[in-house]
Structures are given as structure tokens and as C-alpha cells.
Symmetry: C2
Subunit: 191 residues, 2 copies
């Protein structure tokens, strides 16, 4: 490994945001999974979460640009399991979802620990996942179409978080613990 | 047609931004085309452009959420043809493309007439299209992956344009000419 590459890996691991994540509820289309993974990597998400009742679902997007390697996916069998895990880690849980109390994504404070739940193309997020979350967010739409592609909506919200976090200097100080940092530096550096 | 629907159509046509568009160069995957069309509709793009040397390419995305109907696609056989058309309408042409002089998308003034060129998954934008354009824009990426999905990058830039244009009140006054307005109101209202 060249010294330049080693410095690059250290910088990227340092900028990973341990308190920002995405939860995909029954999102199964490989091109959507791959697009979400790339956006997550780009804004410094450390790992994502998937809620799926299907046991053998292929959560491994077919590695468009190899993003699969850089952002892990943690699988949960139910909403309770996923939310329990996230709350134990201090996450506030917000659904990207149209409902009466949904807040414009640009007025949410994403410098707080945030898990963003997104839903499937046809069904959207389940009632259970909406009800058990802490709130809903929408991306405003000014046209005839009712919803954005899921990977598009996810990216728009993540990049708003990135903007706010950058402004606050949150990419400059490492939030990853020493052990994870050293392990990943080794794994990424010597594949 | 109910009075509510008539009012909705009028409001949407009024908010259409005649001087904001997207040019897809050799973007052919239906799921990407569909995702771009939905985002265009959502930020008020009136029509998009496609540059493609393939004669029979299916530019009609398989109408996810029926967006195809609300945002037209104008096909051009070459870069010169597309850029000539756009420049005759007063557009500045900017490529979403990584190059040394590329500017961060958040520091571009999108209240100016803007045509945003985006490229294909593997090849990106051709050298010809980059060289003949007025400049390049990037969405910053803080991870290991080299590029975002094309529909994601397009949406991030369009929503930055939407934010700036909304702030300036550009959605409140109709920029569409009377004839197009009346024609579309009729076509959309009585399909
Ligand atoms: C195609 S949409 C699902 C539409 C579904 N018919 C519904 O009514 O919920 C897929 C997912 O993308 C996200 N999404 C799409 N457009 C959105 C928007 N404008 N604001 C917030 N989330 C959005 C939501 O998480 C949604 O569950
Ligand atoms: C998957 S990318 C193409 C990558 C291609 N290998 C290249 O080097 O150009 C598809 C298109 O999405 C757009 N794009 C993707 N990520 C971008 C970013 N971070 N900034 C600007 N445009 C981007 C560009 O228009 C690009 O041509």
C-alpha cells in the first residue's frame, strides 16, 4: 500500500459518521440497494440497516462501484428488532414518509444522531414502522408525480445531513472507536 | 374534472421552470430514466433532453408513477444538435462531471438558465460534450466510491436549483408562455 492510499483510508475512516444511518424496510431491488449504498459511502455512513422478513433476501447489491465493501448492511427480522438495536445505540428514528405531521427535510436538525427509515417502491414504509418511529420527513415535490425513487429521496436527505454536519465540523473529528478504526484500516488496506 | 384538480393543474403549470432542464447523454437504463423523470417533475422541469446515437432507443421510461406524461423528452442525434438547440433558447450548459475545474454544486447560481448534462453509468459524459459545455459541476463525495448513481447525482443538483429558485420566488410567477400553458392545461385536464 502506498503512503498516499494509507492517508486516504485514514481520512475516510476519520470522517465516518457513526451516528448517521439508513434503515431500508423491504427495499429489495438491486439497483436501488446499490444506489443507496453509494450515497451512504459518499456522505460517510458507517453501516446501514435492512428490515426484511424474507430470510434469504439478497441484500448484497451487485456491488456497483464496489460500494458493498465500504458500507456494511446489518439485517433485522422485524421493526422491533431494528428499532430496539438503534435506540440502544442512541439513535433518533425518522421515517422518510408522507404523513400529516411530516416535516420538510431542510428544517430537520441532522447533527443529532439520526436513523433514516426508507420504504419499498410500491408499499412504502409499513404502518408499524411509521407508528413506532419518532417522526416523519418529506422532500417537497412541486409536480404531478406522487413520490421520488427511494434511492433519490434517501440521497437528498443524506446530503442535507452532510451539509449540516460539514458546517458544524463533524467530518473533522473521528467518531469511530479506536478498535473499529484499527480493524477497518487493516481490512481495507490489505484486502 | 373537479375544481380542485383544475386548480392543482394550474398551480403546477405555473410553477414549471422553463429555463431549467436536464440533458441525458447516452443514459439508457429504464430505471435511471424513470428516476430522473420523477425528480424533474418534482422540481418543475418542463422537458428534458436526450442525446443518443442509437436510433430506436427506448427513451420512454416504463412510466414509474406515470411521470412520462408530465415531463417530455426531446431527442437529439448529436452533441452539436442538442447544444445548438439549447443555446438558441438561452441556456447555459453545465456538465455533472469530475474534472479539475469542476465547481461544487452548492456554489453554482442555478437561478440562471441552466441545462445540466449527465452521463452514462460506465462511460460518463463524452469528452466532446464536456469540452463544448460552459463548465462542470461536482457533488462532493467523502468516501471510497468514485461516483454516485446518475439519477441520484441529477436529483441532488436539481434540488439545489429548486432550493435557490424557491428562495427567489421563481415558482410563484409563470414562466411558461400562454399558448403552451393553455394547451397543456387542456391535455392534462382531459386525457
Ligand atoms: C416510491 S416511494 C413509495 C411510495 C409509496 N406508494 C407510498 O405511498 O409510500 C419509496 C420510498 O421512498 C421514500 N420517498 C420517496 N419520495 C419521498 C419524498 N418526497 N419524501 C420522503 N420520502 C420519499 C419513502 O421512504 C418511500 O417509502
Ligand atoms: C456513474 S456516473 C459515471 C462514472 C464514470 N465512470 C465517470 O468517470 O464519469 C454517471 C453520471 O452521473 C453523474 N455523477 C455521478 N456522480 C457524480 C458526482 N459526484 N458529481 C457530479 N456528477 C456525478 C455524472 O453525470 C456521470 O456521468
Amino acid at each position: 500500500m502506498t503512503p498516499e492510499r494509507f492517508e486516504k483510508l485514514k481520512a475516510i475512516l476519520t470522517s465516518r459518521q457513526m451516528d448517521l444511518t439508513v434503515v431500508m424496510e423491504n427495499v429489495h431491488k438491486p439497483h436501488n440497494l446499490a444506489a443507496v449504498a453509494r450515497s451512504c459511502d459518499a456522505v460517510g455512513v458507517f453501516e446501514t440497516h435492512a428490515i426484511s422478513e424474507m430470510q434469504d433476501v439478497v441484500l448484497r447489491p451487485r456491488a456497483a462501484s464496489g460500494s458493498r465493501k465500504w458500507v456494511g448492511v446489518r439485517r433485522h427480522g422485524s421493526v422491533d428488532e431494528a428499532y430496539g438495536h438503534l435506540r440502544s445505540k442512541g439513535f433518533r428514528i425518522l421515517c422518510a414518509h408522507f404523513d400529516e405531521e411530516a416535516v420538510d427535510f431542510r428544517s430537520v436538525d441532522f447533527t443529532q444522531p439520526t436513523a433514516l427509515v426508507v420504504g419499498a417502491e410500491l408499499e412504502g414504509i409499513t404502518d408499524e414502522a411509521v407508528e413506532k418511529a419518532d417522526g416523519s420527513i418529506i422532500v417537497p415535490m412541486l409536480g404531478m408525480v406522487q413520490s421520488l425513487n427511494v434511492s433519490v429521496a434517501t440521497a437528498l436527505i443524506l446530503y442535507e445531513a452532510q451539509r449540516q454536519r460539514q458546517e458544524k465540523g463533524m467530518y473533522d473529528e473521528r467518531s469511530m472507536d479506536d478498535e473499529t478504526y484499527r480493524t477497518l484500516l487493516f481490512e481495507w488496506g490489505y484486502p
